[in-house]
Amino acid sequence: MTGFRARTLKLAALFFSPVFLVWMTVGWLSSYVVSAVWTNEAFGTFVGELSGSRALKIMCASFLVCGAGNLVRASRARLKTGTLYFLLWVILPAGLLLYGTAFFLSLSSRQAGNMILGEGDPFKPPWSSAEYRVSKINLGMPDKFLDIDFEKGSGIFQYEPRITLQNGLGAESTVGAFPPASYDGTYFHILNFGIAPKVTVKEVGVVISESYAPLRIIVPGTTDNLSIPTVPFRFQIGMEPVRIIEKGSVKAAEFSLHSPRYSIRVYDGEKIIAEKRGVGELQFDRFEVLLGEPAAWVQVEAVRDPWHMLLVAGLLMTAAGALIRLVGGVVTVYRKLFVE
């Protein structure tokens, strides 16, 4: 028993030694370099395999445990030099360890999905029992906007959309683009937004399709494609200016979000068979198509990541620790070179 205990302690001492940590780092570097040279996508491969490969998870966990053991051992030695000095020293390695652990746990267990939603749409993340409904969408854009003003937004985001989420109990909360908002253990944020014109298609006078089509056409000059399952043609839709404003030499096109004018082209294969700019029905073949008042849509990403806050804390600690070390390092080098 004593021999077994001694051997275990010896192994533990080796596992938690700085030398073993450095050897593991050398091993990681070597495997990364080999992967980078031969596959060109070493980081992507690593991230992709981390969620599936048990061997990789064990290696990562061993590396982190070894790092934690080393930190504890080094901390005990550092504590003898004084509490303040220890605290200033420990922030960087503890931050790195926290960040590395959260990075590993997050990649291993993260679940995410995104969906395009309109006002009133219900949704339920697959990992959650809670159901939500988008009670309101605010695109964050004025109804009328000029093409020349498009790049002159204010704040961090050009136009930050916001939605109001309602849970099953009727409680409402707001979600924007960044930072993500957390409700019931799930993070939500908006990835994209736009308008969805109501598209009505009639065949020989009978309505065969009527739905809102989410399109990416807000940026002036862009068009998006639309296919309707029961119609053997492809539609290319864009936004047209509602009026042109000329002041001196400046000319600008004004667009409207709530009452937009559209351009629509109908393709049979790659051949244009009909097109129209402005309001009203477009007739072609035996069909009629009408673009009506739009609704707003948002693409919402829902993420279940229990380690997100740990990741944020790790990053902040690492940044603070690096700054402290940088200042401390400069002072030490200055003292060594010029004072002593």
């Binding site: 030398v19 980078a36 980081f43 961090i156 050009q158 993500p180 993070y187 990835l191 790659e270 080098v333």
Partner: protein, 467 residues
């Protein structure tokens, strides 16, 4: 016989001998001063094996697969030497890396085998690259004699220039400052500055190493954006993206990649130059102040000697890194598109005409006016000699297109670097690939394909991971 063949083969021969000669002189001095001259035999055996294998590889069927792996072997061997040198530098920095192996008795035989292995690892990749490049040139120009004679003449010139340096006193005493870590670092440096991914054509490995490190840094930052749920740049205004783009910019990546590369050598220098030395005890009796000062001076002097080559290498890397970075960062090559027309549903691009050659490895842009829309196409010949034909736009950014910087295409909107060799992968910030056919004269793209893929621009629809 063209001047091209002669000068290229001369340069390759000279390069190989110069690299080998410098390493030999340093190793000879080290072996002499440390009583390890028995290591010279495996060193020369390694050189012989490497060059016989490398130069004969193009003519031995079993070794022909090496051709496709030469670039990877060169990069990989540099990385291995650099990692070996880092491990040795750490050991030398009083971090007893090899402590767990102290109980293993290491015989001279082990050192001989290690020397043989390292010599083969050092010389084989470049020798193979030179061998294949020389064989191809000889085949194309139908003049094997002149090519191999030029190669030998270059090697002789290198030998004449390098080997007499061995008589100089400071070269003979190089072993005083070069220990194992410094010799391994010298091997890595010689590979960094004296190797190329393209055999004869390219001299230095620095662009490849820079690109690899920048790619790692870019991927790491992007993964963090995903984990921190920062929305992609469809939603961000240009100025915000310009700020975030600093992390993807060439200068930032250049600095961080340099820091990654130099972290261990700088740690070694810190330990050697700034750490208070531990004066070894000479006897059980307490040493007098004079003896301690004398010992301290000896330890410091030894440390400074061993640090000198590392300082020189750090200086060399920093200088060349920024000289290359400074040269390349303003030069984003973005040619004006040449107009194309569609004919019978087909767009055809001439591979070579008096004004351009698509096979030159540079980015070429074309534009097609179609029903009021201007569709831009880019064509690059990849290092594997295949053409990559893509739209000059991606699925994420506003379609401002790409410029070329060395072996990278760079998104003009968001600064994302895309290695040329990875072109053809869809999704993310990669240029949207097009299906195209090519013969000796033309690259042909179906108009349907062009229009279909144009719908993906700035739409983020393919759903495939990219970047």
């Amino acid at each position: 016989m063209s001047q091209f063949v002669v000068s290229d083969a001369l340069l390759a021969g000279f390069r190989e001998t110069a690299r080998g000669g410098i390493l030999y002189l340093v190793f000879l001095s080290y072996a002499s001063l440390t009583q390890r001259k028995y290591l010279l035999a495996p060193f020369f055996l390694g050189i012989s094996v490497a060059f016989l294998t490398g130069l004969s590889a193009p003519y031995i069927t079993a070794l022909l697969p090496l051709k496709g792996a030469v670039g990877n072997l060169i990069s990989g061997s540099f990385a291995l030497f650099f990692i070996f040198s880092c491990a040795a530098l750490l050991q030398s920095s009083e971090l007893p890396l090899f402590e767990p192996f102290r109980l293993i008795r290491i015989s001279d035989f082990f050192y001989r085998i290690a020397t043989l292995f390292l010599a083969v690892l050092f010389f084989l990749p470049e020798a193979t690259g030179t061998g294949f490049a020389a064989a191809e040139t000889a085949l194309m120009r139908e003049g094997a004699f002149v090519v191999y004679f030029s190669l030998a003449a270059g090697a002789a010139a290198g030998g004449i220039l390098i080997f007499p340096l061995g008589r100089l006193t400071f070269v003979r005493k190089a072993g005083e400052v070069f220990d194992v870590p410094q010799i391994l670092l010298l091997c890595a440096i010689l590979k960094l500055f004296g190797s190329g991914m393209k055999g004869i054509e390219q001299i230095t490995l620095i662009p490849s190493v820079q690109a690899g490190l920048m790619k790692f840094f870019h991927d790491f930052v992007h993964q963090n954006f995903v984990l921190f749920m920062v929305p992609d740049h469809m939603l961000l205004r240009t100025t915000a993206w310009n700020f975030i783009g600093i992390f993807f910019g060439a200068n930032f990546a250049l600095f961080v990649s340099l820091l990654l590369l130099l972290s261990v050598p700088l740690f070694f220098l810190y330990r050697k130059l700034l750490r208070e030395p531990v004066v070894p005890a000479v006897s059980d009796a307490p040493a007098t102040g004079a003896v301690i000062r004398k010992l301290r001076h000896a330890v410091l002097s030894e440390r400074r000697k061993k640090a000198a080559p590392v300082i020189f290498f750090v200086f060399l890397i920093v200088t060349s890194w920024y000289v290359r970075g400074g040269q390349t960062s303003p030069r984003l090559y973005n040619p004006a598109p040449k107009p194309l027309v569609a004919d019978n549903g087909l767009v055809r691009i001439l591979i070579s005409d008096p004004t351009m050659d698509l096979k030159d490895g540079r980015i070429h842009k074309f534009s097609l006016a179609h029903q009021g829309k201007n569709i831009r196409i880019l064509v690059v010949r990849k290092p594997d000699s295949r053409f990559s034909v893509c739209l000059d736009a991606c699925e994420i950014c506003p379609p401002e297109g790409y410029g070329q910087k060395e072996d990278l295409l760079v998104c003009i909107y968001c600064n994302t670097p895309i290695p040329v060799r990875t072109l053809g992968r869809p999704g993310g910030c990669n240029p949207i690939p097009l299906e195209a056919a090519s013969d000796n004269s033309f690259i042909s793209i179906k108009l349907d394909e062009l229009l279909k893929k144009t719908a993906l621009v700035n739409a983020g629809k393919s759903g495939e991971p990219g970047r």
